[in-house]
């Protein structure tokens, strides 16, 4: 269980200090699929980065199974990023020099030394191929990112995020750069992983339709959680407000 307690975060933009999160509180249960929605600038991505130890809060605390992770530094923080969290980004962020298989293997490359890799490379490659098969890209393992469609690149990014068998997948607008149909297929893939692997998924999205299929929707506004409901309730309320 990941607990976010009274989280504050500000950024310096030019000469101005911009407060992004104002004492935010949130709890993410193990095995749940949580979606975070909200307008641009509401602090969704910032929250995701803080939860994933990519950034440090100004104050407040983040705990994973009772242990603080917001104050980790150095190797411990790198290991947390590598082993506990998996990240999926809006723009896929695959390394253009590497083909799909090597992109999926990148977390393992980062973990292993040259000698260590030599000993375990077959095992890793098999696992990476299994991940590519799992996301439906087993036949495209040799292809470089420029030879793949947006949906395929995002699938490869999901496979990469899953390689180290993380406890939590953090997806920052994974469908934001995809057409509706491909976006749905990606969210369906995440749902499958959540259901089959008991993988905790936190997804930031603008798309309410996609968020409706998740276990829980959190709506953010002005750096705070303003609504935290089951999808059916929140979705109905949000659509009413819009309509």
């Amino acid at each position: 269980m990941l607990v976010v307690d009274n989280l504050q975060k500000s950024y310096r933009r030019h000469a101005e200090q911009v407060q992004v999160l104002h004492g935010l509180n949130l709890t993410v249960e193990s095995g749940e699929f949580l979606s975070i929605v909200g307008a641009s600038g509401s602090g969704k991505s910032t929250l995701l980065h803080l939860m994933g130890a990519l950034d440090a809060p100004d104050s407040g605390r983040i705990s994973l199974d009772g242990k603080r992770i917001d104050n980790l530094r150095g190797r411990a923080r790198d290991r947390l990023r590598s082993r506990t969290f998996g990240y999926v980004f809006q723009f896929y962020h695959l390394l253009p020099e590497l083909h799909a298989l090597d992109n999926v293997l990148m977390p393992a490359y980062i973990e292993a030394s040259v000698l260590g890799w030599w000993g375990s490379r077959k095992e890793w490659r098999m696992r990476a191929m299994a991940m590519l098969d799992r996301v439906g890209l087993g036949h495209r393992w040799k292809h470089k990112p420029r030879e793949m469609s947006g949906g395929e690149m995002q699938r490869a990014a999901v496979a990469r995020a899953l390689l180290m068998k993380p406890r939590m997948l953090l997806a920052d607008e994974p469908t934001g750069n995809l057409d509706v149909e491909t976006g749905e297929s990606i969210v369906n893939l995440l749902k499958e992983l959540n259901a089959e692997e008991q993988l905790t998924v936190v997804m930031v999205t603008h798309n309410l339709e996609l968020a409706r299929g998740t276990d829980r929707i959190v709506r953010m506004s002005g750096g705070r959680v303003v609504e935290d409901e089951k999808p059916a309730i929140l979705h109905h309320r949000l659509l009413s407000a819009v309509g």
Partner: protein, 504 residues
Amino acid sequence: MYKLLLCLRYLRTRYLAFVCIVSVLLGVATLIVVNSVMSGFSNKLKDRLHGILSDVRIETDSSGGFPESPETIEQNILNSPVGSHVEAMSPNIETFALIQYTVRDSYGNKITQTKQVRLVGIDPAKQAKVGGFSEYLIRQKNSPNPSFDLTDEAKWRLKQNISMANDDPFDFPRIPQLPPPASEKFGGFLINPIIVANPGDAGPLPPPVMTADAPARLPGAILGYSMGHYQYVDPDTKISEERKILMPGDEVFIATVGASGTKPVSATFIISDFFKSEMSEYDSSFVYVPLEDLQRIRGMDNHVNAVQIRLKPGSRDDNVFVHKTFVPAVQKIMPKPQSTVQSWQQQQGPLLSAIDTERGLLNVLLFLIIGVAGFGVLAIFSMIVSEKYRDIGVMKSLGASSTGIMGIFVSYGLLLGVVGCGLGTVVGLLFTYRINEIEALLSGVTGQEIFDRKVYYFDKIPTNVEVLSVVLVNFGALSVCVVSSILPALRAARLHPVQALRFE
């Protein structure tokens, strides 16, 4: 593992990096070639200087030479504590002189030429034992007992010369004869041989008798090669060929100062051989004559003004022993200021240090090429880091540490350096080993002689590849590449993953 993987991938995919590799390659290759050629020149020069100068030389500025006889000097040295290190000694007289000879131009006209030379009186057999004298002789090359004797061919030419002179009513009377002793009177250059008289003699020597028969012992002389030869360039074909001015059997007239005062003395000598050290200065100015003849001309009795010493093999190569032990010990026997004892390196100190300075300066200047390559690495890596902002963010989000990210770019710099240095070393060594073929090719293409063999009389460009020098050049180039990559690598390492991921 990811550092190695990405380094290799960047090397294969970033074509801009080839600019860095080429810069390093050129710098390393140039430095290796220049160092090898400079070292080759330097070694050849040192070998020749050493060969001509022997290991240690004692000399005096006194015009009459050392007060002791050469035998006494040799005995004193052999009896000294360092005497056991001496392999051979050769007493010399060395002085400045004027040489005059007559040549015919292409129309058959006679031209009398006069040159300033360094006249050296030697015992050729002893001289051959103290240095590489005989290896530079043309006719008597590598002879263990070289001499001033004329060959039959030279004697025949001498006879021909005498016959021609007798037939020519306008020619000066000429006849070789043993040099006369020193005189207080100077007979002038126009009379040959000079009619002089010893201070104690009743009168001058009798005038020469014209005869076609040469005397039993002819006063031979060994001339520097370029005094008797020159390079003729055909104005039409531009092909150069070596032509002879003087040949063994031709006579030369030599004038110098006597031992007492500055009275000029002179004598006629017959060329018996040529001396070709391939050192322009020596080949154009050295004239060797028999020691006893020069002693006689200058009125030095049995005295010399220099002694050359050859040390035994173990001692000769020990610079510390030569300079700290041997030279001071001999200087004790032959005290200053009358005598100066110097090793060959001390004698040629300014020249040798000039070569070293020149080499050092060239290294510094040429290392700037690698410095430029370093700036290339810095600029190109800065571009690559900017281009890879998001990739760096992704890698950090996947668990890569800041030092790991830094390691990617430093390793990449090192890899470019290794490839550039490796290729540069191969190119540099190939260029060095094939430098003469390349020079010939370039000379053929441009129509200009790139390496003028007349300057040093080297048949080919001398080279000497020093392993230490190659290692140092490579180490320097690698260091420049690594140091140049540190700044961009630090920038990459300090990138915040969130900022990097948001970078557009």
